[in-house]
Structure formats: structure tokens, C-alpha cells
């Protein structure tokens, strides 16, 4: 057999050095960008043009930075949605589908209630309806997870495909409530004017950004300080200890998953009150829900850090989309880099948790006494 002259040893760290918590994500991003550069070179695109245009498009201009914040509004919500479920080792992979339902819930309220109520009441109603619809979409996965232990990973994901069909259905079916009756080609019906917010100045940034930030902060506090959060922490660490202490895991699972679904639904409703004002079928190709999982993972599921990772990540996407206008590099490099960053971050996580060192496997062991 082949003899490998060294062995990689993973030694669990007692305490993670603080600097590593900062350096590892940073290096992960750089490594992913480096990998992307190699990839671009190999496929014959300009690395410099691609990256400078991405950076300009995402951060280094007024439009860039406001677009980034605007996109982060949604990604913070879907990120918090994923991370909140993660707090209890639950994997809500179907945030995407719950977001679709949020679109439907928000649009429904915006159309059905008509233009009677002031914005100050109308907009919260839309957001709540979207959140409720998102929560409803995760109800079955939550129920079977808490009662039967059915994997929520696959069930929430399958419901995303079903949700996508539902979106198509409500837009493409002639005479549908959500379809614009005035056009012959399929298009969403606009919600009441009072249900739409105005963006800040010439930007495309909406006040919902602050709602997203407050929601993330509030949930951070809930997990850290409240009895509900305490229960979540006990269950996630040791389910048997929860059982021992009389904590009802089923109910907590239901609640956590419902809140997670509601947050993705909220993200959908924010798209209605903000930029779109109607159900736009192309939203189902954007993958905001999936991106939330990446945002959460990059923040290592810290609900407050998600605000930062959400903004950085949005910048990457906005910058990636900018490529369409400025270069011939396919915009999908953005999505690819998202995946790569996450993969590198996962690899980097090992350096945070373990002290990794390479040992020579000696053919002669250390001998104190000569043989």
C-alpha cells in the first residue's frame, strides 16, 4: 500500500481565538474570489473587468450602494428566516417557496382591500398577510416534522416547486384574481396605491429596509434573552435535556418553523409593497430564498451578523447583475461566487474549530531509550 509520509491532525480547540472569527470569513471570501479569477481566466473572460465592474456596481456608486441595501432588505429577511430555524437545528430550505406565498398573501391583501385605508395601516396589513401566508406554507412540514420526524429539508424544498407552480397558475390562468385584467399577456394585477411605499429619493431603496433590520435585531434579542429563546437553545443543544426539563419540543418546533416561514413570507410581501407592487412571475427565477441560506451560513447563523452578511452578499449580487450592462461576462458568475464563498467558508470553519497541523508519520518513532 502507498505510504503517505504525513498525517493531518485535527485537534479540537477549547476556545476559538477571536481574531480567527474575523480572519476566516475574510480569507474565505478572498479565496473564493481567487478561485473565481482562475475560473474566469480558464473560460477566457477578463478577471479585472469582471471584478472592478462587480465592485463598482455593488458598492462604489450611489445607485450601487442603494441597490445593494434594497436587495439586502429581502436577503436579510430570508437570511433571518433560515438562521432562525437553524437555531434549533431545523433546516428550512424552502424559504424560496414561502417567499412565493408571501407574494400571493401580500398581493391578495393589496388587491382585495382596495384603496380605502391609509398607507400606515395598509402596508402593515400587507406585510402581515404575506408573513401569514409564508407561515401557512410551512405548516405541513412543521407539523409532520414535529409529530412524525419527517425531514423538513426535503418537504420544505418540494413545497417550493409546488409554490412556483402556484405562482404560474395565478398569473397565467385567464381571469385569475391576481392577473391584470387589462392586458392580454399574463401580468400581475397592481395592488392599491395606498399599499405601495415610495422609495427614498431617486434610489430604489424602500423603508422596508429598516423593518428588516429591526426584525433581525428583535429576533436576536428573543433568542438571547427570552424564555422562548432559552427553550430553543436547550432543544438545539440537547433534545433529551429539554425532555427532562419538561420543555415541549413539538410546540417549540412548530413555533420556530412557523416564524421561519413567516419571515420568508414577509420578504415576499416586502417585494409587493416595495419595488414590484404586483406579483411578478420572474421573481421565481431570482432565488432570494435560497440566497437567504447562504447569508445565514456566512453569518454562522448569528441573527445580528446577518444584517452585515446580507448587505455584503447583496453587493455581490448587485455587482454581478451589473456585469450584464458593462461586460460580456455571464451574470451567473455572481451566483457561482456565492456558492464558492459558502464552500470556502465551510472549509474555513474547520480552521476555526480545530487546530490543524500536519505531522510526519515517522518510520522511526521518538525513542527516549535506545533499543
Amino acid at each position: 500500500m502507498m505510504h503517505i509520509p504525513f498525517r493531518v491532525v485535527f485537534e479540537q480547540r477549547g476556545e476559538t481565538p477571536r481574531r480567527l472569527s474575523l480572519i476566516v470569513p475574510l480569507v474565505s471570501v478572498l479565496a473564493a474570489l481567487f478561485f473565481g479569477a482562475l475560473f474566469l481566466l480558464a473560460t477566457g473572460y477578463s478577471v479585472f473587468d469582471t471584478y472592478t465592474n462587480m465592485f463598482k456596481g455593488g458598492f462604489a456608486s450611489f445607485n450601487g450602494i442603494t441597490d445593494t441595501l434594497a436587495l439586502s432588505t429581502v436577503l436579510i429577511c430570508t437570511g433571518v428566516s433560515a438562521a432562525f430555524a437553524f437555531q434549533m437545528n431545523l433546516y428550512n430550505i424552502g424559504g424560496e417557496g414561502q417567499l412565493y406565498l408571501g407574494l400571493i398573501g401580500g398581493a391578495w391583501a393589496g388587491i382585495a382591500l382596495g384603496d380605502h385605508l391609509p398607507s400606515l395601516i395598509m402596508v402593515p396589513i400587507l406585510l402581515i398577510c404575506g408573513a401569514l401566508a409564508g407561515a401557512a406554507w410551512i405548516f405541513v412540514p412543521a407539523l409532520v416534522r414535529s409529530r412524525l420526524g419527517t425531514s423538513e429539508i426535503v418537504s420544505t424544498l418540494l413545497l417550493t416547486y409546488i409554490g412556483a407552480s402556484l405562482i404560474k397558475h395565478v398569473i397565467y390562468t385567464p381571469g385569475s384574481f391576481f392577473r391584470n385584467p387589462n392586458t392580454s399577456f399574463p401580468q400581475g394585477r397592481r395592488v392599491a396605491d395606498s399599499a405601495s411605499l415610495d422609495s427614498f429619493g431617486s434610489s430604489r431603496l424602500y423603508p422596508t429596509f429598516f423593518v428588516a433590520v429591526v426584525v433581525a435585531g428583535a429576533l436576536y434579542w428573543v433568542v438571547k434573552r427570552t424564555e422562548f429563546g432559552y427553550r430553543i437553545n436547550v432543544i438545539s443543544d440537547s433534545p433529551r435535556a429539554a425532555h427532562y426539563a419538561g420543555i415541549n419540543s413539538r410546540r417549540t418546533t412548530m413555533m420556530v418553523m412557523s416564524i421561519s416561514g413567516a419571515l420568508s413570507g414577509l420578504a415576499g410581501a416586502m417585494l409587493i409593497v416595495g419595488p414590484y407592487g404586483k406579483i411578478e412571475p420572474s421573481i421565481i427565477t431570482l432565488g432570494y430564498g435560497y440566497a437567504g441560506i447562504v447569508v445565514a451560513a456566512l453569518a454562522r447563523n448569528n441573527l445580528a451578523v446577518i444584517i452585515i452578511s446580507g448587505i455584503l452578499f447583496s453587493g455581490l449580487r448587485v455587482g454581478g447583475n451589473n456585469l450584464q450592462v458593462t461586460t460580456d461576462t455571464p451574470i451567473h458568475i455572481g451566483v457561482m461566487l456565492q456558492g464558492a464563498i459558502l464552500l470556502f467558508a465551510l472549509g474555513g470553519e474547520a480552521f476555526r474549530r480545530y487546530h490543524i497541523h500536519i505531522v510526519r508519520t515517522q518510520t522511526q518513532p521518538n525513542i527516549k531509550m535506545s533499543a
Partner: protein, 312 residues
């Protein structure tokens, strides 16, 4: 005429089942080793595109298939290294792979969009056997990959349950500490089968592309087949022979909407027909997790958890 379309549908259902069998077996081998690779969907997409590009550039479909399998193995090796060597969270790593694979596929596929390949994988010729009514087109109307996939499932079953490496594979998924105590390398076994599984998934993606689709159109090519394959493994109770059965069943639900549409059966909205395979999978998944059926399932006990030799 009316009969005919149902026969065609059955033939197509078995055809689509090919990708499910290959991807399902890929996931099965991976999971039998104790590794949960949720990145199947991403691998399917990336290998589909790569196989298309390779076949387009070389003019050889077979080279395309090989290339698809190769890309599958490479992507799976990323997952293997992250989850086995770096002990990363396998669920997140798998999802990262889905995102990465999707981006990669769309990036590479950009120039290929709308293109078609002239040659396709032809069904095998069994002479007059194919003319037998009903079973002719269903049983004797498939291509070599479909037959190979079914054969592979049978061989896999033998491999898993009556060979030495099969025994070691099953033990690794169930009880890695025991395998380690025997002096076998858990890491090596896990990496090997994760990559092998990825190659099978890649082959499935390549076949989907080269035998089923006319050309590359983004994510629509796989449409969640990778996720269905993962559910299929649960459905099959981690047994290769049952993968065939489950794949054909899911193949039918995937084909049914097209057939009903062709038959002008329109009282069911098409969107709901589209949902059918996912709904069927979901229901099957829930039904299988009823208490009591758990023991029959036979999920590898260490599935999804990294193996750490406990050195205090």
C-alpha cells in the same frame, strides 16, 4: 390511438426514470457510506451542461456522458472533502454545492443556450421485439443507458449485500467507529463512495441532457429531479432494487401531466399537474415517516454526522 399515448407515456416514464435511477443510486451509495449530499440537484445541472458542451465540442455523445460523470465526481469530491476531511455541516455544504452547481451550469451554459446537438442516443434495436404491442415500445424501446441503469441497480444490490466491500460500505454508514476499530479508513471509504455517487449522478445529468432534452435551457432542464432523487432513496429504504420501482413510479407522475395535456384532459389545471410529482414525493415521504415504519426504513445510522475518533 387512445391506447397508444398511454403506452408512449409508459415508455417515457421509464425513460425519465433512468435519470432518477442513476441519481438515486448515486445518492444511495453516498448515504450508505454515511454522507448526506444534498447537492445532487447542483451536480445534475452542472454535469448536464458539461456533457452538452463536451458532446458539442467533440461530436461524440459518449465523450459527453463520460465528461458528465467526471464533473459529477469532481463536484462530489468537493462535498466529500468538506464533510469528511473538514467535518463541515453536510447539509449546508450540500446546499452550497446546489448553489455553486447552478451558477456554474448557467455560467457555462450561457453560450450554449438555444443550441441543439444533432446526434442523440438512439434506442437499442431489438428487431421485431419492439413491434410487440404494448410491451414492445415500453420494454424494448429504450436506449443502452436506460438498460445499463437498471442493470446497475441490480449489480449494486449484489455488491451491497454479498461482497466484502459492500459489507464494509454498509458498516461505514451504520457504525463508523466499528469500521475504524477494524483498521479500515472511514475517511477513505466515505470519500470514495461520495465521489462514485457523484459520478453516477453526473451520468444521470448527462443522459438527461443528451437523450432527453433538445437543448440547454437553464434550470428547467432538471426541474428538481435531484431533490426527487433524494426523496427516492428514502422511499426505497436505501435498497437499490427498490430504487428501480420508485423511479418508475415517480417517472409516471412526471409524465402524467404531459399525457393528460396531450389527451386534452383539461378539467385539472396544468399547474396542478405540474405539482403532481412533488406532491406525490411529499406524500410518500410523510407516509414513510409514520411511527412504526421507521425500522423498516433502514437509514444508515451515522447519516450526515462526521466521524471523529474519540480521542478525549
Amino acid at each position: 390511438m387512445n391506447d397508444n399515448i398511454w403506452i408512449l407515456m409508459s415508455a417515457d416514464a421509464i425513460a425519465i426514470a433512468t435519470t432518477l435511477i442513476l441519481a438515486g443510486l448515486g445518492a444511495l451509495f453516498t448515504e450508505r457510506a454515511g454522507v448526506l449530499n444534498l447537492g445532487i440537484e447542483g451536480i445534475l445541472l452542472a454535469s448536464a451542461v458539461s456533457s452538452f458542451l463536451a458532446a458539442d465540442a467533440s461530436g461524440s455523445i459518449w465523450l459527453g456522458l463520460v465528461f458528465g460523470a467526471l464533473i459529477g465526481a469532481i463536484l462530489a469530491s468537493v462535498h466529500a472533502v468538506l464533510s469528511v476531511v473538514f467535518r463541515a455541516n453536510q447539509i449546508v455544504a450540500g446546499l452550497a454545492l446546489v448553489i455553486f452547481g447552478t451558477g456554474l451550469a448557467n455560467f457555462l451554459g450561457k453560450p450554449a443556450e438555444g443550441k441543439t446537438i444533432n446526434t442523440v442516443i438512439e434506442p437499442l434495436s431489438f428487431g421485431s421485439l419492439s413491434d410487440i404491442p404494448v410491451i414492445g415500445p415500453i420494454v424494448f424501446g429504450q436506449d443502452i443507458i436506460t438498460y445499463s441503469a437498471i442493470l446497475l441497480a441490480i449489480v449494486s444490490s449484489r455488491y451491497l449485500f454479498s461482497t466484502r466491500p459492500g459489507l464494509e460500505l454498509r458498516a461505514t454508514g451504520d457504525d463508523p467507529a466499528t469500521v475504524d476499530a477494524q483498521g479500515l479508513s472511514v475517511a477513505r471509504i466515505r470519500i470514495r463512495y461520495t465521489m462514485f455517487g457523484g459520478a453516477l449522478v453526473g451520468l444521470g445529468g448527462a443522459w438527461l441532457m443528451l437523450a432527453q432534452s433538445a437543448g440547454w435551457h437553464q434550470a428547467a432542464t432538471t426541474n428538481g429531479l435531484g431533490w426527487i432523487a433524494l426523496a427516492l432513496v428514502v422511499f426505497a429504504g436505501w435498497r437499490p432494487m427498490r430504487i428501480i420501482f420508485g423511479a418508475v413510479l415517480f417517472g409516471f407522475t412526471l409524465q402524467l401531466p404531459f399525457t393528460l395535456q396531450a389527451e386534452q384532459i383539461t378539467f385539472i389545471p396544468s399547474a396542478f399537474l405540474e405539482m403532481l410529482p412533488y406532491l406525490a414525493t411529499l406524500i410518500a415521504l410523510i407516509a414513510l415517516s409514520r411511527p412504526g415504519s421507521r425500522n423498516l426504513l433502514g437509514a444508515p445510522r451515522s447519516l450526515g454526522s462526521p466521524f471523529v475518533r474519540d480521542e478525549r
